[in-house]
C-alpha cells in the first residue's frame, strides 16, 4: 500500500487511482430487461412497445440506462482507505451518453476516480469515489456511474 499522508491523516492505496480494471461483460438480455422493468414499475413505451419506440427518435426499443446500476461484477479496485471506524454509501451518480438496446454486450471497467478529505463541523470525512465505465460492443461509452463511499469516525472526530 502506498501511504498518502495528508492533513486529515488518512491512508489509501494511491496506485489504483485512475487505473481501469476490466470487470467483464453485462449482457442486456430480454429476461434482464423484463426483470428491471417489473422492479421499477417502468411503463414508458420507449422501453415496452416496439411500434411506439420505432416512431421515436431512437427508431426502436431502447433500455433504461438505470439497468446498468444493477451490475454486480466482482474485482473492482479498492483504495483500501484507512480512516475512521465507519463507512457508508454516501452518493451515486449516473451520466448517460448513448442508448442501450436489447442484445448489447456491455463491457464494464472500474477504477477509483479519487480519494479526498473534507472537514466540517461534524469532523473529518474521507470520500472514495469508485467509477464504472460502460461501453457497448462497438466500443462506444454509453454510461458512466460513480459511487461515493464516506469513511468517518462514528460519533464525530
Amino acid at each position: 500500500m502506498t501511504s498518502q499522508p495528508t492533513e486529515a491523516t488518512f491512508e489509501y492505496d494511491a496506485s489504483v487511482i485512475g487505473v481501469e480494471v476490466p470487470l467483464g461483460t453485462f449482457d442486456i438480455t430480454p429476461e434482464r430487461v423484463a426483470g428491471y422493468l417489473k422492479a421499477t414499475g417502468e411503463t414508458n413505451l420507449l422501453y415496452t412497445d416496439e411500434a411506439a419506440a420505432k416512431a421515436s427518435p431512437y427508431g426502436g426499443l431502447i433500455v433504461p440506462p438505470g439497468i446498468l446500476q444493477t451490475v454486480s461484477l466482482t474485482g473492482a479496485p479498492n483504495a483500501k482507505v484507512k480512516f475512521g471506524n465507519f463507512a457508508m454509501h454516501s452518493g451515486q451518480r449516473m451520466e448517460v451518453m448513448g442508448p442501450i438496446r436489447v442484445g448489447d454486450a456491455i463491457s464494464v471497467a472500474a477504477d477509483v476516480k479519487e480519494v479526498y478529505a473534507k472537514t466540517g463541523r461534524s469532523g473529518t470525512m474521507v470520500f472514495e469515489v469508485r467509477r464504472n465505465t460502460f461501453r457497448n460492443q462497438h466500443g462506444e461509452t454509453v454510461a458512466v456511474s460513480e459511487m461515493s463511499m464516506v469513511h468517518r469516525q462514528a460519533g464525530g472526530g
Binding site: 453485462f26 426483470g35 422492479a39 421499477t40 446500476q69 444493477t70 451515486q92 449516473m94 451520466e95 448517460v96
Partner: protein, 146 residues
C-alpha cells in the same frame, strides 16, 4: 407514451412528483437483474435481521435503486424526445423497505449552453417521517417546438 415536454413550456419552479413504496419483492427483483443469486442471499438489502446487525431498523433499499427510481420519474416527465444527461444524488438517511416515499423534482434553471436546451432539476425522495433521505440534481435536454 408520456406526453412530450418542450423546453419553451418549462419554467423554474415547475414541480412534479410520484409516490413509491419499495417492497421487499421489488428490491429483490431489482437486485436479481444483475445478480441472479441476490434473492437467495441474506443481506442488509433483503433481510431485516442482517440490517439490524448494522443498526438499521429493518432491511434497507440499495442506494442505486433510489437513484434509478428518481431517474425514471424524471424520464417520464421529459417525454420520449427528452434526454437524461446526468443524475447525481446524496444519501442522507437510509431508505427502508415499505417506506411510503414521494419522489419529487423541481425545475431550478433553464438554459441554452452552446445552443443545447437544458433543464436543471433538484430531485428528492421524501418519506412519511418527513425526512428527505435522498436528494440531488439532474440535468436533462428537452426538444424545442418547431
Amino acid at each position: 407514451m408520456a406526453d412530450q415536454r418542450y423546453f419553451e413550456d418549462v419554467e423554474p419552479g415547475d414541480e412534479f412528483n410520484e409516490s413509491w413504496t419499495p417492497t421487499r419483492e421489488a428490491v429483490i427483483g431489482y437486485l436479481t437483474v444483475g445478480n441472479a443469486e441476490a434473492g437467495n442471499t441474506a443481506s442488509r438489502f433483503t433481510s431485516d435481521e442482517e440490517a439490524k446487525k448494522i443498526g438499521m431498523a429493518k432491511a434497507i433499499v440499495p442506494g442505486a435503486f433510489s437513484l434509478v427510481m428518481a431517474s425514471r420519474v424524471v424520464a417520464d416527465w421529459m417525454g420520449p424526445e427528452g434526454k437524461l444527461h446526468s443524475i447525481d444524488v446524496d444519501f442522507r438517511r437510509p431508505v427502508l423497505h415499505d417506506d411510503t416515499l414521494n419522489i419529487l423534482a423541481l425545475v431550478t434553471d433553464t438554459l441554452e449552453d452552446d445552443g443545447v436546451p437544458t433543464v436543471k432539476l433538484d430531485v428528492y425522495l421524501e418519506n412519511e417521517r418527513g425526512e428527505r433521505p435522498v436528494q440531488g440534481t439532474a440535468l436533462v435536454e428537452l426538444p424545442k417546438r418547431g
